[in-house]
């Protein structure tokens, strides 16, 4: 789990499944990082390494999107794997924000 900033974009990398057992730790970490990096113009969730997204993971993603949107910033997802995309399609994430598939899944 890590974050970094590049060209005005703040990247969030969970590097793990977005499931209930991980949720508290991930949420607390990302929210703290977002508060500490308010100057970023865009926030990107890097889905590398995310295999499973359960309902709490969905809530986290939508929570991040809402948080970023309230600050009038852009939110998107990159490096989404096949399994991530199944969940994203089911919940129609693409109607809310851009999702870029991982290159190996192209």
């Amino acid at each position: 789990m890590k974050t970094y900033k590049s060209n005005g974009t703040f990247f969030l990398l969970p590097e793990t499944d977005l499931v209930a057992s991980q949720m508290e730790e991930i949420r607390d970490y990302f929210m703290k990082e977002l508060r500490d990096n308010v100057d970023a113009e865009q926030v990107t969730l890097d889905a590398t390494g995310i295999e499973i997204v359960d309902s709490l993971g969905v809530n986290l993603i939508i929570g991040l999107y809402r948080h970023v949107s309230t600050e009038s910033k852009k939110f998107n997802v990159v490096n989404a794997g096949e399994k991530f995309m199944k969940v994203a399609n089911f919940f129609r994430f693409s109607t809310l924000f851009d999702i870029e598939k991982a290159s190996s899944d192209d």
């Binding site: 499931v19 209930a20 057992s21 949720m23 499973i52 997204v53 359960d54 309902s55 709490l56 969905v58 809530n59 939508i62 929570g63 809402r66 399994k83 199944k86 969940v87 089911f90 919940f91 129609r92 109607t95 809310l96």
Partner: protein
């Protein structure tokens, strides 16, 4: 007679009491309505007029006191009879202060009840008295006809004997005679039914009148015994009364008094017997309704048969589906004694059981709490032998505790042979001692093709084993129906051995029907445990269906597990979630049980449709619903079906 069928409302939370009172009142031409609690009673009273209300004072929620007060506030003057086990003067006063008109203590005394009904309904509600008189065909004492009643006269003196035979025959008796008590008892032993009464001289050679009286009352209580003598000393008189003589006749007045004395005794005995039998029958009827399974739909794995001997009290059996991870409870109990009070103890026992079972599912815990409650009654002459089981049907595992009952008998079928294992029983009966450490406890796994038999002390394990061996076909033959096994065994048992107590036979069949296809996993309610459970499930799926596309299926299952942890068990880390996987020819069934009450699936789905995509919550249910081919929710159990192939 102003009211031939008074309308009576019975208010009692105990179903046994309601049934018993109903039966007694209906048998006495009353119209009966019942209410389970105070609120229900008030609803009924508001819409219907009753001649009398019989009110249990101690009920959960709106109790009898408050209900009666409400009735009076409604301006109703309907007589209310307080029916309660509280017997202190202050309790009686409290009932009256609440507005009750009469006080009828528990356990029920039928005569007192009917007298009160008669008093307040203004009707003659004792038709049985009339029918008894007509049935017995006993005429007025002055009418010396006794319809051929069979009398055995014991008199050594031939002259006196002939005189008395003549007197008795003139009255209509069919008379036999013997010179002494020894011969009289021999005749009774040969066939006691050939005599209705014995009329004996107090003083005979060999066994005298007292000896005959004593033996007859003990061995043949149906036979009436009358003793005559020239004179009796007070001590002998008292002894005869204690031994239960039905009449004592001064010899000097034999001719004039024998008819009246026999008539009086016959009337009293028949009335008492009929009354007792009627009440006992009603009690037994009521109790029989409670000797049944607690589930609305008894499962296929349990079977029971019972045969009652005595009028009241005796054996009972109950089971309850706890809806906790597929577990259920079974209780088999035997109340000591066979009279009305023992039947009352049965009702109390069932009442206690009913109220504490859900919260004391562990067998030892249940025995302890029932014992504690029974001891409060201070009925020192009564106790309850009990067997309690917690039955995990999914694992086919049993926790068994006994308090005075015989240990269960395990029957296992292996290669066309029957194997038996007798488990420890005994322990201290409930209601005797304030001790919690004197029960027996054991755990049994019912493997495939095995059956556990439970029985009360009216049966023995060795005899049951013998009967099972004689009826092997019930278990070994593929053709013979396995239904009603207990009934068949019990009938065979009674054919082989005389019945001298109530008998109840209960069998639990192994739930493992095809062990190879079922996989069980359980975990405590924690998110990390959900991850482990998902790993176990996906491993099983991969092992059995390596080509299965399982991503979204697993997501659906994961959400069902999360639902069990979050909503079912409310994050209680001590609460279990149990998972059963069953691979079927065209699919997979997964059953997930938590310890919660469950929910209405359709309602929740409709609620979730009203949410926008941005709303937080109920996403799990959407996922479950989207990727499972079928969902069923029953209580805390969710069953998911996935079609494959």
């Amino acid at each position: 007679m102003t009211n031939n069928s008074p309308s009576i409302l019975i208010v009692d939370d105990n179903p046994f009491n309601r049934e018993m009172l109903s039966d007694i009142l209906k048998a006495n031409s009353c119209t009966v309505d019942t209410a389970n609690n105070g609120q229900e009673a008030l609803d009924k009273i508001s819409s219907k007029t009753y001649a009398i209300i019989i009110m249990d004072m101690l009920m959960p929620g709106l109790d009898g006191f408050e209900t009666t007060k409400q009735v009076r506030k409604m301006g109703l003057k309907t007589p209310v009879i307080a029916h309660t086990s509280m017997s202190m003067k202050k309790d009686r006063r409290r009932c009256m202060e609440a507005g009750c008109d009469e006080f009828l203590p528990k356990p029920i005394n039928t005569n007192d009840l009917l007298a009160l009904i008669k008093k307040y309904a203004g009707s003659d509600t004792q038709p049985e008295t009339q029918s008894i008189a007509s049935q017995q065909k006993i005429k007025h004492p002055d009418d010396p006809t006794f319809n051929g009643l069979k009398a055995l006269l014991i008199e050594e003196d031939q002259t006196i004997r002939n005189q008395y035979i003549e007197v008795l025959q003139d009255m209509g008796f069919s008379v036999s005679f013997v010179p002494n008590g020894n011969e009289a008892l021999d005749r009774l032993e040969q066939n006691s039914k050939q005599y209705d009464l014995i009329i004996s001289n107090m003083f005979t050679s060999g066994i005298d009148g007292l000896g005959v009286l004593n033996t007859t009352k003990r061995e043949y209580p149906r036979v009436l015994v009358f003793i005559y003598a020239d004179k009796f000393d007070p001590a002998t008189l008292q002894l005869m009364m204690q031994l239960g003589a039905d009449g004592i006749i001064p010899q000097s007045d034999f001719k004039n008094s024998i008819g009246k004395i026999v008539h009086t005794a016959l009337s009293q005995t028949s009335h008492s017997r009929t009354n007792q039998a009627q009440t006992a029958f009603q009690v037994r009827q009521s109790q029989a309704r409670l000797t049944q399974f607690g589930c609305s739909k008894p499962c296929q794995f349990i079977d029971m048969a019972f045969s009652t001997l005595h009028d009241a009290g005796g054996d009972m059996a109950q089971c309850r589906y706890f809806n906790r991870s597929g577990q259920c409870g079974v209780v088999l109990a035997d109340v000591s004694g066979h009279d009305i009070l023992s039947s009352y103890i049965s009702a109390v026992f069932l009442g206690i059981l009913s109220s504490v079972w859900n919260t004391h599912q562990d067998p030892l815990s249940l025995l302890r709490i029932i014992n504690k409650e029974l001891l409060k009654m201070e009925e020192v002459n009564y106790h309850v032998c009990t067997t309690v089981l917690l039955w995990d049907q999914k694992k086919s595992h049993l926790d068994i505790a006994t308090a005075g009952n015989p240990g269960p008998l395990l029957l296992t079928q292996k290669d066309n042979q029957l194997e038996f294992q007798q488990f420890e029983g005994g322990g201290i009966c409930l209601g005797l001692l304030d001790r919690d450490d004197l029960y027996t406890f054991q755990q049994v796994d019912l493997v495939q093709n095995s059956r556990l038999f439970l029985f009360s002390d009216g049966m023995s394990a060795s005899k049951l084993q013998s009967i099972i061996n004689k009826n092997k076909n019930l278990f070994l033959s593929e053709v013979t129906s396995k239904r009603e096994v207990c009934r068949r065994l019990l009938d065979a048992y009674m054919d082989s051995w005389s019945q001298d107590d109530d008998m109840i036979l209960l069998s639990l069949e192994s739930t493992k029907t095809d062990a190879d296809k079922q996989f069980l996993y359980s975990f405590y309610s924690d998110y990390k445990e959900v991850d482990k459970a998902c790993k176990w499930i996906s491993d099983q799926l991969f092992k059995h269906m390596p080509n299965l596309e399982m991503d979204m299926m697993m997501l659906s299952i994961r959400e069902a597990l999360l639902n069990a942890v979050e909503h079912g068990n409310n994050y209680d880390s001590n609460a279990l979630v149990e998972v059963t996987l069953e691979f079927q020819p065209n699919g997979l069934q997964i059953v997930i049980s938590d310890q919660g009450k469950g929910f209405n699936l359709n309602k929740k789905l409709i609620d979730s449709k009203n949410e926008s995509g941005f709303q937080i919550g109920k996403r799990g249910l959407k996922i479950i619903h989207a990727f499972a081919d079928k969902i069923e929710v029953h209580g805390g159990t969710m069953r998911l079906l996935f079609n494959i192939g």
